[in-house]
């Protein structure tokens, strides 16, 4: 599994942590963005994410490279696209370092940059629909 992945499959935070943690990097900080069951005040069942995938890979690679060289931490970023049901993770960012300040800083910087510069969008929502019976 690659440190950088855009996939329509469910994300496995433990597996992503395994890509960056090691016996030398004892501080591991993981951010998971989980789809909430409300958006803009309305109940939803899922968010459908779309990506400009080739460019999103390039932007994510720049974030990883920049943040790793700034902090010394090692990063993995996986983003799910397509339909992501409420309660499941749309993104997992994991940073590992020998000491915890660098791991926290790297994880936070990476997700902050992702939210600004990576061409991925919440394309639409699927609403909660009551079944007829």
């Amino acid at each position: 599994m690659d440190k950088l992945l855009i996939t329509d499959a469910p994300l496995d935070a433990a597996a992503i942590e395994g890509l960056v943690s090691s016996r030398e990097r004892g501080a591991v900080v993981t951010f998971s963005g989980v789809v909430r069951d409300r958006e803009q005040g309305a109940a939803i069942q899922a968010i459908i994410y779309e990506a400009y995938e080739s460019m999103a890979y390039k932007e994510l690679a720049k974030i990883i490279e920049g943040v790793e060289s700034e902090t010394g931490a090692v990063l993995a970023i996986h983003h799910r696209i397509g339909e992501v049901p409420a309660g499941e993770a749309s993104v997992v960012v994991c940073a590992a370092s020998a000491h915890r300040p660098e791991a926290f800083d790297a994880c936070r910087a990476a997700i902050d940059l992702l939210k600004v510069d990576v061409p991925i969008w919440k394309a639409s929502f699927t609403a909660v629909v009551k079944s007829p019976i």
Binding site: M55, H79, L114, K122
Partner: protein, 79 residues
Amino acid sequence: MKVKVLFFAGSRDWVGDSEALVELPQGATIDSLITADELSALAPHLSSLRFALNEEFSPTSAALSDGDTVAVIPPVSGG
């Protein structure tokens, strides 16, 4: 020359298509591309849009070449 334009998210809805092939004069920039008929539906939204030239964010003053790909990038909402 011909430039391929990709529309994502809201910009695809406004334009009603996911891509367009636009014929431009030599020396055209992204600024001139924006005035093409195919992109006229973007006019009310220009202040919120960014553009990518061959998969890199680019200023609208960037000069275009035949075969380039320009993507219209509405505010992103990943994460």
